[in-house]
Amino acid sequence: MAAAGLKDATAVVGIGQTSFARHLPEDEKTLACRAVLAALDDAGIAPGEVDALASYTMEETDEVELAKAVGFGDLTFFSKVGYGGGGSCATVAHLAAAIASGQASVGVAWRSRKRGSGPRPWTNTTVQLPTPAQWTRPFGLLRPADEIAMLARRYMHEYGATRDHLFNVALACRNRANQNPAAVMYERPLTREMYMTARWISEPLCLFDNCLETDGALACVVVGRERARDCRQRPVYVHSAAQGLPAQHHGMVNYWNDDPLTGPAWSTARQLWKHADLTPDDVDVAQIYDAFTALVPLSLEGYGFCGRGEGGAFTEGGAIEIGGRLPLNTSGGGLSEAYVHGFNLITEGVKQLRGTSTAQVPGAATCLVTAGEGVPTSALLLRN
């Protein structure tokens, strides 16, 4: 007998978020509680019914603190996923697996982070693991921006991608943020002139190739298919979910294998599509992890929207804007709405499939959501 699998077995039935800003006065624990309670209220589910949790290993509000603060019931499943923003979609995937296999019935995933007013992780040199930092940091390769810029320059060299392609990504995100009153960059349009004259962060990446630094929290509620029909909101089904850590992968400094420009997106995509009834051609809208613009062309290739080396050219001609081949990051994404380790990409995917996005793709029925490319990652294929 074939395993029942994850396909459409669970659904996201609630989403919640705090406001987003460079600085919010409340602490991460309080923000986490607010986002989680907002998501449960959205679903019409009482906190006492929650029996499963999932978050990131970098999340600093632990399960005990959250559960006792908001009044969860007895928890029978809780997991945390590593690799920073690579874990975003995996939090929902873990809940879906737990619920589909009967280990729990109501799951909450969340991320709360004061990355806007709190410290930049790369400035803490004492917690860095000796490997691979010993091979990179003494030479001044200090920040994620430097590590990804190294791959970006090689990518541009091998495939002829240009800064205009990266600008297309930054602009699409900014345009969507300009439609989204909750976005940090709601009232801040971006022009090509601004992009091309912006200060460098790590050449070839400039200021606008880098995500925002944001305080904020988000959460979502996952239940089984049967239960989903009784909830307050239109269910958004987890059609397929996958994680990926490719063979001989080295994290954000993926310089040491045969093909450094094919990262975790490729292996995650193989698993994601293998268990889906859909193909990349069927995707109406995508939320692609965008800590850096350069991750988007790589992800477009990895998830099969174009061929190898074609990710830059794919962004031309308005293809990633509303009305284009693949509108993406329709809340503004990490580049222009908020950078909360990609969790806002999940909630925006849900909004698109409810028909409630501030940049709604007409009739959107399927949405791909991805986690951070360049680290062990994860992805969700959502449908309504």
């Binding site: 930049r120 400035t123 040199t125 860095q128 000796p130 490997t131 691979p132 930092a133 010993q134 091979w135 990179t136 940091r137 003494p138 030479f139 001044g140 390769l141 200090l142 920040r143 921006a145 430097d146 810029a149 190294m150 791959l151 320059r153 090689r154 060299h157 200060r199 460098w200 962060i201 790590s202 050449e203 070839p204 001989q248 080295h250 400094v253 310089y255 040491w256 294998n257 045969d258």
Partner: protein, 135 residues
Amino acid sequence: MLTPVTDADGAPFWEYAARGELRVQACGDCGEPRFPPRPCCPHCQSFASKWRAVSGRGRIWSYVVPHPPLLPAYAEQAPYNVVVVELEDAPRIRLVGNVVGRAGDPLDSLDPGRLRIGARVRVVFAGGLPQWVLS
């Protein structure tokens, strides 16, 4: 400036570098080089390893030019270059480093405009760290 925080796998690389030698870890059984160093060979699973001397010649595989915000000692030298060098005699071994004017020069001693992907470089050593000069 940050110094390498080594581990058991990486320590030999730095011990050789302190003597002005560039060596990379290779499998003691199948001979396959690997980087970063690790306890066993991902090709044949052997725990035997040796440290193979390499020519110290390579080509720039990619490079970046970091600008602030950076850690203070690096911000003082910014903008500077960081390169990934592909070794001539082991092309899949790529080392992160800096191209400098001469051995011992600071990180910002070379105009980044002189860097190109594919440019030939050779290793020099200063203060226990490998550096690279254009060849």
